[in-house]
């Protein structure tokens, strides 16, 4: 736990009588992809929201880069280098790919309070945005409006925006959702390379992607982590099979 980039300890959140997350303790170590899997309604999105600062936990703590960030806001955690992607793409759809990426650069550099200088002519911001777009392969689409992009390209754009933050950790909420087999395969390959940038906490339903990528897997059922282990250990776990994977996995 001591070398973890990101860690939760005893994270609990209830909505009325429903315990969305119940005493969740997990960590994300340097260079790894740690997948969180679980059936619908297991509390995965609630967990991500607590980790990223959108929800305040009822109990427990979130530690990032060795600091307790439980009371910090979403923007404060993002400025520390906690980058996230959303289950449903959150992008400025009327703006271009470049503008969306520049937004990340503006946030990363902390320079939104400039009112008169064109953002595209700011070399520092532009260099950061261009590098991120090149990294995800979206440079040829920079001038397109986001509404013209395919679903897979929007997923990559979310990653590009996250890259402008020069993140210390990624939190990804179902990045494969809505992608076809080809798109899913391409993104899996991309995420495999991305782990060199920063470790990834990956919430995902696509089990092929999870088994191909994850160093460790945590299984969340009814808000509780029932098992954490390597791919092989999770595959071999009777408890996991009974609760989530089924006999054929």
């Amino acid at each position: 736990m001591t070398d973890a980039v990101l860690a939760t300890k005893g994270l609990s959140k209830s909505f009325g009588a429903l315990k969305a997350t119940d005493d969740v303790t997990l960590d994300l170590r340097p260079g790894e992809i740690h997948a969180v899997i679980g059936p619908n309604g297991a509390g995965k999105s609630t967990l991500i929201d607590q980790i990223c600062g959108g929800l305040t936990p009822d109990a427990g703590s979130v530690t990032f880069l060795g600091r307790d960030v439980t009371g910090r806001s979403v923007p404060a955690r993002a400025r520390m280098g906690l980058a996230r992607s959303f289950q449903i793409s959150q992008l400025a759809m009327e703006d271009t790919v470049l503008q969306n990426t520049l937004l990340g650069a503006v946030g990363a550099v902390g320079s939104p309070w400039r009112f008169l200088w064109p953002v595209v002519k700011n070399r520092r911001l532009r260099a950061r945005a261009d590098a991120a777009l090149a990294q995800v392969g979206l440079t040829p689409h920079a001038a397109k409006r986001v509404s013209e992009l395919s679903h897979g390209q929007r997923r990559l754009l979310e990653v590009a925006i996250a890259l402008t933050l020069r993140p210390k950790a990624f939190v990804m909420d179902e990045p494969m959702a809505g992608l076809g087999a080809e798109g899913s395969k391409a993104l899996t390959e991309f995420l495999d390379r991305l782990r060199a940038e920063a470790p990834i906490l990956l919430v995902e339903h696509d089990m092929d992607a999870v088994f191909a990528l994850a160093d460790r897997i945590s299984v969340l059922v009814y808000g509780r982590i029932i098992e954490t282990g390597t791919v092989d250990a999770i595959r071999a776990s009777d408890a996991v099979r009974a609760a989530y994977l089924g006999a054929d996995r």
């Binding site: 923007p75 993002a78 400025a92 009327e94 520049l102 937004l103 503006v106 946030g107």
Partner: protein
């Protein structure tokens, strides 16, 4: 379809050319109409920052228009009656100087927008509309009961205020001042829309979650935009009071807020010169249709209905191609 830049230049050139022609042909009423349209356009350019860029549907912008108007009225009233604005150990006199009045009007409007924005932005959607409306109505009823400054009857100023080196009593000169300010604000707005702040504000309207996720606070961005917006509309209020040499609680009324919003929607929300086109169209309709029937608002309503149903980009959107904000 023509490029939006070209349309903007044509609109601004026409807005200057018509009153100039009128000044050569001794038609002061035409100049007054153009000045009225210019001031309305300035108020709407202010609202367009909140509404078009920030997505804040403010039904209380009359509050800033009224604050600007009453700032002018109060300062000029004390200057013309030779009574101090504030008496006591530190005496503050009124003034007839336009630049001073503009600066004070903008300062007071900015402060009001900061307080009202900070409170209103805790809400969203219909609640935001209602709370901004409520603030406007509070000031409306306050000025009705403010007998020191005319109460319900309003406040008359005998002479137009002064601007160094210019005879403001000449209608075209006063128009030129208003026009100059409008062009300055539009130029500011054009730069502003392309700036890092403009980019972040636009994104905050479209996807606040994304803005938060890159480390920015969308509420703070919107608050700053609301303050800039209110400041510009406040300046327009000071000019409007000077045009009429009269201020009254009507400047604060929700109908005034509605009219400012109509200018923006009619011309084109988030279009640089949309508010100018909307304000000019409104003043022309008011003048020409108002001469035919006192129920001319029916035709305005019909036009608005058609615009909202068939031309979301307003009158500007009907004829101009939209350029990307950050080319």
């Amino acid at each position: 379809m023509i490029p939006e830049k070209l349309l903007n230049l044509v609109v601004l050139a026409l807005l200057l050319a018509v009153p100039y022609w009128a000044s050569l042909n001794d038609a002061p009423f035409t100049i007054t109409l153009a000045t009225r349209a210019t001031i309305f356009a300035l108020a709407a350019v202010g609202l367009n920052i909140a509404l078009g860029m920030g997505g804040m549907v403010s039904l209380g912008h009359a509050l800033f228009f009224g604050i600007g108007g009453y700032t002018m009225g109060i300062l000029a009233f004390h200057a013309q009656s030779f009574t101090p604005l504030i008496d006591g150990p530190m005496v503050i006199e009124g003034t007839k100087s336009m630049p001073v009045i503009w600066a004070v009007a903008m300062g007071v409007s900015a402060l009001a927008a900061l307080v009202i924005g900070a409170l209103s932005l805790r809400t969203a959607g219909v609640y935001f509309i209602m709370i901004t409306l409520a603030f406007g109505q509070m000031l409306f009823f306050f000025t009705i009961s403010w007998s020191s400054y005319g109460g319900e009857d309003g406040l008359s100023i005998f002479l137009r205020n002064e601007f160094p080196g210019l005879d403001t009593l000449v209608p075209f000169n006063f128009f030129a001042l208003c026009y100059g300010l409008l062009v300055l604000v539009i130029l500011f707005n054009a730069r502003f829309a392309r700036s890092p702040f403009g980019l972040a504000l636009n994104a905050a309207r479209q996807s606040p979650d994304r803005v938060r996720a890159v480390g920015l606070n969308p509420q703070r961005l919107k608050l700053v935009a609301f303050v800039i917006s209110g400041t510009i509309t406040g300046l327009a209020g000071a000019l409007f009071a000077d045009l009429n040499r009269f201020v009254s609680p009507t400047m604060f009324s929700w109908q005034t807020s509605g009219e400012i919003m109509v200018f923006v929607i009619l011309g084109g929300v988030a279009r640089l010169c949309g508010p100018v086109v909307g304000a000019v169209a409104f003043v022309m309709l008011e003048h020409f249709l108002g001469g035919l029937s006192e129920f001319w608002h029916i035709y305005l309503g019909l036009l608005l209905l058609l615009i909202v149903l068939f031309a979301r980009g307003g009158l500007v959107g009907l004829v101009a191609r939209r350029g990307a904000a950050h080319d």
